[in-house]
Symmetry: C2
Subunit: 197 residues, 2 copies
Amino acid sequence: MANDQPLTKEAILEAAEQVLRRYGPEKTSVVDVAKALQVSHGTLYRHFPSKAALREAVTERWLLRIAGPLQEKANQSGGSAAQRLRSWLQALIDSKRKSVIEDPEMFGMYSAVTLEAVDMITEHVQLLIQQMTHIIEAGVRTREFRSGQPEAMAKAIFMATSRFHHPAYAYEWSSATIDQEFDLVWDLILTGIAGGK
Amino acid sequence: MANDQPLTKEAILEAAEQVLRRYGPEKTSVVDVAKALQVSHGTLYRHFPSKAALREAVTERWLLRIAGPLQEKANQSGGSAAQRLRSWLQALIDSKRKSVIEDPEMFGMYSAVTLEAVDMITEHVQLLIQQMTHIIEAGVRTREFRSGQPEAMAKAIFMATSRFHHPAYAYEWSSATIDQEFDLVWDLILTGIAGGK
């Protein structure tokens, strides 16, 4: 990119993501990204005052790419609410597992940011819980699920499935029994949301 | 300890634990433990061929001290099975949280060993799942819980509560909402094991 073009936030984040992938999150500096964009590091610091700010912004954009297809899934209406909920959870789990293998630098950065940028992660989790709440509300309306507080149920399900999607657990996802373990937890959850209706 | 006394495994592990607490798991060597016991490091290497073996053995002993009081809780028979199960889970969670604060060196070593010594950790988890299975079986017998496979339910509950007792999550245990989050997950679990009976 020539340095006489307007520098959009999107262009910076795209360049930053590429540089982060090439050098790894630990070694990438704001100056490296400025070089890739052929702008002065002063220009870049006006947008992102620190390496931490840049990392957070790149991670936030990456998380939106995870949440987007899940939002589409949450908006679908075919099949039972139980099928949709399971399919949504499986999509969340699959997207995280795929990232560990196919995009390890970005996944590593997201894992690190999870420990630091609490507000941004809380917002991402809140978005995912809203998506699940939407599915659960539909299941309550059709009496497929017991009445109760759909948002509280969604939170409980998100936390009860942490083992399968939280980055702190990524080291267990290659276990031969991980899918079988998810089946057990899913059976418990399904009885928990359908059971006492 | 004078070096003409017999060197029991217990005495070595006790000394090793004290040395590990003093120097931290990273800095402690087998030689440090030999010095504390006033024996040659050759003598100690006959018992523990590597630093990793020593760390595993100390962690294993530490985990048995966690599992012991839980076994007593699992053997109790007063109150409902639901109360006993919740009280058992709370005791597991409390013992882990207490360790983070009061025994950070041992907890840190246990966290590290969790990623490495898979067999030993699997055995510990298996022991805890057996204890929960015992409580759930009693609840199934009295029809407080739905019929099903108590061991599978115990596994599911152990995994669904990972966030609250697995060391990879320790950084979240100081959150102001952690107890409230456990309440939500517990409600889901309780309906899951009682619901469809």
